[in-house]
């Protein structure tokens, strides 16, 4: 009897982890829209799907082509990309925006301090991303660096496909002006980040 049970257990198939598409179906059943957080948000886009399936390590060729695709979609404003670092600091501090209890249309924040060190005066900073203290000191504030920083904030996935960082411009979280202000926070020699 005991043996029979044991055999049965061995004969039972091991459970395979559900696939990304199966999970998507489960989430469509188990979630409901709330405020601005609508149900289209549980449908994965190409980047999310590739990164989930590869545990954030997709093959090099797929990475390259998807990064290029993301890069093409970045809209760079004309002229200088340096905004006001003081406004940038406030945006970096704020963790609001895009959640189901944030009001649509109200200015969002970049949640920057949640993950990065920036100004030395803010000691409550996260470490999921690298420290950005002194970022502009070593890199200067020339047009190329400005463009790099703007692009990275607008769509981090264009530079590193499975980056942890949200696509703050592409997702509609931050406005072009807000991203410029963050460029100022990082690059302006007068910004506390570069003290």
């Amino acid at each position: 009897m005991k043996r029979a049970l044991l055999l049965l257990a061995v004969a039972m198939p091991a459970f395979a982890q559900p696939t990304g598409r199966e999970i998507e179906k489960i989430m469509q059943r188990d979630f409901h829209p709330h405020g601005q957080a609508t149900m289209d948000r549980v449908v994965q886009d190409g980047v999310q799907r590739v990164c989930t399936e590869s545990k954030d390590h997709p093959p090099a060729d797929i990475t390259k082509s998807l990064e290029a695709e993301q890069m093409k979609a970045i809209q760079f404003p004309e002229g200088s990309l340096m905004g006001d670092w003081k406004r940038g600091e406030a945006i970096a501090q704020s963790g609001r925006g895009m959640t189901w209890n944030d009001k649509p249309g109200q200015a969002a924040g970049g949640s920057c301090y949640n993950c990065h060190q920036l100004s030395p005066h803010e000691m409550s900073y996260g470490t999921i991303g690298p420290s950005l203290r002194g970022f502009g000191k070593t890199r200067g504030a020339g047009p190329e660096v400005q463009r790099y920083v703007y692009g990275k904030i607008y769509n981090a996935k264009a530079y590193n496909l499975c980056s942890n960082m949200p696509r703050l411009g592409a997702s509609g979280t931050l406005t072009p002006q807000q991203i410029k202000d963050l460029v100022g926070l990082l690059l302006d020699p007068a910004s506390p980040v570069n003290e």
Binding site: Q93, S94, G95, G109, S111, M123, S124
Partner: protein, 145 residues
Amino acid sequence: MNRIRRALVAALAIGLVRPLAALAAWNKEAFGAKTAADALKNLGVPNAAPSGDLHIEAPQIAENGAVVPIEISSNIPGTTALIVVIEKNPFPLTARFDFKEGALPFVKVNVKMGETSDVRVIGEAGGKHFSASKEIKVTIGGCGG
């Protein structure tokens, strides 16, 4: 229980009972003072000498100003009261504890702090006043959303 409490409140209101007869009145002037100096003046504490025998156990950084744990105690012989003043709070005087025979001059309590501030403790012993203070930084925790 609620009914009993309501009855008690009503009784209190018309002055029938005083369940806490030994109670010191709540010092309205001192608690209403907007500066530490005014609060201490109203408590009758003119000047307090710094003392190493008053202890404030508290974290240097509090993640949340709504709950800042502090543990205060005195090794000064004959300590009869401990007063807590949070310098930068809108109403700095936070508490006054009077210890009678049978209690040690020791309290642990959670307090609210509006911002980074010095927390001052005044000890009273034999009619003299002593003081110690400690800065506690208040930071932001969590996602901020």
